[in-house]
Symmetry: C2
Subunit: 216 residues, 2 copies
Amino acid sequence: MSKVQKLPTIRRLPTYLHRLNEMRKDGVEIVATPELAKYMNLEAIVVRKDLAATGVTGQPGVGYKVPELIESIRAFLSWDNTSEAVLIGAGSLGSAILGYEGFEEYGLRIIAAFDSDLTKIGSTVHGREVFPVSRLAELTRRLRVHMGIICTPAEHAQEVADALVAGGIWGIWNFANVSLKVPDNVVVQREVIAGGLAVLSVKLNKLKHELQEQED
Amino acid sequence: MSKVQKLPTIRRLPTYLHRLNEMRKDGVEIVATPELAKYMNLEAIVVRKDLAATGVTGQPGVGYKVPELIESIRAFLSWDNTSEAVLIGAGSLGSAILGYEGFEEYGLRIIAAFDSDLTKIGSTVHGREVFPVSRLAELTRRLRVHMGIICTPAEHAQEVADALVAGGIWGIWNFANVSLKVPDNVVVQREVIAGGLAVLSVKLNKLKHELQEQED
DNA sequence: CGGAATTTGATAAAAAAATATCTATACCGT
DNA sequence: ACGGTATAGATATTTTTTTATCAAATTCCG
């Protein structure tokens, strides 16, 4: 399985997309890189390169057409066709994700939730029915869902992943703080929230040191 | 304000740290890079470089001492002294973050929550009292807190950021889907959850194409 | 209508990150 | 004790990402 290129660009694309959707709603038809760059806290040339990576072209001296940009980014990320997912673990994090309405913008629809807590089963969370995890593999297969979002405690994440694999899953978005073992033909994206905290910590420390130097 | 180096390394460090803490709890005293690499789904040499960046040294032919590694990573990230934070927006995402017990491991203690919902004020969420946002600037200053975690809807994030800045904040961890305007002496780390989804989408698509090629 | 300012896109350069190679050190089993 | 295997660390190389430079296209303003 070969490697995905332009990782940093890919990570930035959803943010452009979100801003562009806002602009379109506001009736903006043309946008130039300096404006997006300012929004993103990036250099304009980074933005230009990112947009070019998706295949659009702009008009020199003018900018890019907002609708074209949106389409190009969505196509590049394969977000032009909504894909369906199941979510496992309807605790506080799972509920937060189920309640987040922005995912439609990102081509994702969560169609069902699973939990091991018997009191939750049969209820709905943000409009999705909660099923018992014992039915996860079966329903994943029957619903022909290709993505699973794991929001369980770390200690149950591997069994959930196994069930998803048994159900024929293609991709797993893993919010549990563990490394999952899956076959080669399944893609896992592990979300490590503390990664951002680490970056913030280092930036803060750097700032602190710079201020101290100024005092000298 | 100069740039932070070794970003990818910094983002990986919390994951090493988490695993190392588990190992220590299990009584493991020595660890070698191949093992960590397997856990991280990385090449061993990446791990060795990452660890070296924090300043530790290992024993050729043996590995690293687990406690030393932990200390080195924590010191590098300034996580050896717990720092305090306030959280704004006690909705589902805010609650999820308040309920996450792993942050102590990452040197972070959330000491208070704020919300604009009058029915929440005075109650506690996962052990933290909820204060009205109107008191955010005042309490931030009085509590001498240096980090704010924004979990409000996007439309209120800027006013919250302004209040934090007024309260003398140093760093903001922003989970709202907007770009915040803050003075130069305040660091913002924006968490874009959809970035991970974008990476997953691209990987999935790549996999799909590779499978199709094999069929030919 | 003309010149200044803006912006894209192409090309080139620099910086950062990942990967490879090699050497010295330690362990393990015999 | 010895030879095979495993590992860290130093150095070098390659790849990826970011940044710079410049020409061509467009707009705006006088």
